[in-house]
C-alpha cells in the first residue's frame, strides 16, 4: 500500500482512482453491475430505518469519511464547519473530500446510491462542511453514515459498512 491516506479497506486495482476526479462517480457506476439493496438498511446503533429494500443502488467509489459518532467528528472540525458554512459555495470539488485531513477516518469504497432525499425513510443531513453534507441516523444522530457532495446534488451516498441490512 502506497496510499498516503490511512487505508482500512483495500481498493481493487481498477478502481484505485483519486476520489476527487469528477468523472469517477459516473465511470464507477457504469462499470459495475447495478445491485439494489435486498433488505432495508437500518442504523447499526438504534435500528432506525434509513432506506427501504430495493431503494438504493450499490456503487463503488473511493471516499474518505470521518469515523463514526458524528458529534465527535463535528467537534473535531468545529472551526472548519464555521468557516466553511460561509464559503462553501465557492469551494470547488477538489477541496471537498480533503477538507478534514486531521479528522480520524477511513477510506471507504462501497456505497448505496440514492438520487432523491425523499427516498430516505429517515435520515439527518448535516450542515455543509467544505462542500459536503454528511448523512446521519435521523434518530440517534450517529454518523457520518454517508454524504452528499454539493457538486453532485442528485447523489446521496450511504456507506455500505455503516448501515445494516435487515
Amino acid at each position: 500500500m502506497s496510499e498516503s491516506s490511512p487505508e482500512i479497506l483495500t481498493p481493487p486495482p481498477a478502481l484505485a482512482a483519486i476520489s476527487t476526479d469528477e468523472t469517477i462517480a459516473k465511470d464507477t457506476a457504469a462499470s459495475v453491475e447495478p445491485k439494489k439493496n435486498g433488505k432495508s438498511l437500518v442504523c447499526t446503533r438504534c435500528g432506525s430505518k434509513v432506506l427501504l429494500a430495493e431503494s438504493a443502488t450499490h456503487i463503488r467509489k473511493k471516499v474518505f469519511l470521518p469515523l463514526m459518532t458524528f458529534k465527535a467528528a463535528v467537534a473535531a472540525v468545529k472551526s472548519v464547519v464555521e468557516e466553511s458554512d460561509r464559503v462553501s459555495d465557492v469551494l470547488d470539488n477538489s477541496d471537498a473530500l480533503h477538507v478534514l485531513p486531521d479528522v480520524p477516518g477511513e477510506v471507504l469504497h462501497d456505497f448505496w446510491l440514492v438520487s432523491d432525499m425523499y427516498t430516505f425513510e429517515n435520515v439527518g443531513v448535516s450542515h455543509t462542511v467544505g462542500g459536503l453534507k454528511y448523512l446521519t441516523c435521523a434518530d440517534c444522530e450517529i454518523g457520518p453514515i454517508g454524504f452528499q457532495d454539493l457538486q453532485q446534488k442528485e447523489e446521496f451516498l450511504v456507506a455500505w459498512n455503516r448501515v445494516e441490512e435487515k
Binding site: S48, K71, V74, V81, Y118, E121, V125
Partner: protein, 206 residues
C-alpha cells in the same frame, strides 16, 4: 411492503438560540436525549417518515442550524413550508418575548396560504426556573391563532404529539399540500374547496 407516502411536507423549527430546537428534532422519535447537543452542532434538516391517521407521510424538518444567532434566515428557508414550529423556553422570558419577531418573519416570508403554526413551550420539566406560565403561552397562541403544546425534550413529554398534531392539522387543511399521485388507496379531496384557511383555532393537547 410499506405504503407510498401520500405527501411530503416541509416543516420548520424556529425560535431563539438555546430554546431546544435541535433537541426537539432529535427527540421526535428517539429516546436518547443528549444534554450535550451543543448549540446546534450541525444537522441542517431531517427526513422523517411518520404515519398520520393510517397514512404514511414524509416530512422534511428543517432546523435553523444556529443561523438565527446571526439573524440571517433567508426567505428561501421559509419558502414552501406547510408548517412551522415556534419554540420558546419556559425558563427564558426573552425567548418568549422574541416570538412576535419570529412570527413577523414567518408572515413576511412564508408563501403558503394557510400554513399551520404551532407554538411549543419547551423545558417544562424545569419547574424551578419556570417564568412563563401555561396561561401566558395559551394567550399568545389564541391571539395568533396557532396550535399550542407544552413539552419537554428532556423527558420526551409530548414531543411526538407536537409533530403529530401539526401534521394532522396540515393534512386537514385543503390546498396546503399536494397529494402524491403515486400513492394509492387514499382519496382525499384535492380541490381547493376551502377558501379562507379554516385554521384559526388554538388548541391545547395537554
Amino acid at each position: 411492503m410499506a405504503d407510498t407516502p401520500i405527501t411530503t411536507l416541509k416543516l420548520l423549527i424556529i425560535g431563539e438560540s438555546g430554546v431546544g430546537k435541535s433537541s426537539l428534532l432529535l427527540r421526535f422519535t428517539d429516546d436518547t436525549f443528549d444534554p450535550e447537543v451543543a448549540a446546534t452542532i450541525g444537522v441542517d434538516f431531517k427526513v422523517k417518515t411518520m404515519t398520520v391517521n393510517g397514512n404514511p407521510v414524509k416530512l422534511a424538518i428543517w432546523d435553523t442550524a444556529g443561523q438565527e444567532r446571526f439573524r440571517t434566515l433567508t426567505p428561501s428557508y421559509y419558502r414552501g413550508a406547510q408548517g412551522v414550529i415556534l419554540v420558546y423556553d419556559v425558563t427564558s422570558r426573552s425567548s418568549f418575548q422574541k416570538l412576535e419577531m419570529w412570527l413577523g418573519e414567518v408572515d413576511a416570508y412564508a408563501n403558503r396560504p394557510g400554513m399551520v403554526k404551532m407554538l411549543v413551550a419547551n423545558k417544562i420539566d424545569n419547574k424551578k426556573d419556570r417564568v412563563i406560565t401555561r396561561d401566558d403561552g395559551l394567550k399568545f397562541a389564541r391571539k395568533h391563532s396557532t396550535l399550542f403544546i407544552e413539552c419537554s425534550a428532556r423527558t420526551a413529554d409530548n414531543v411526538p404529539t407536537a409533530f403529530e398534531e401539526l401534521v394532522e392539522k396540515i393534512i386537514q387543511t385543503p390546498g396546503l399540500w399536494e397529494q402524491n399521485l403515486a400513492a394509492k388507496g387514499v382519496n382525499l379531496d384535492d380541490q381547493t374547496v376551502a377558501v379562507e384557511a379554516p385554521c384559526g383555532g388554538y388548541c391545547s393537547v395537554l
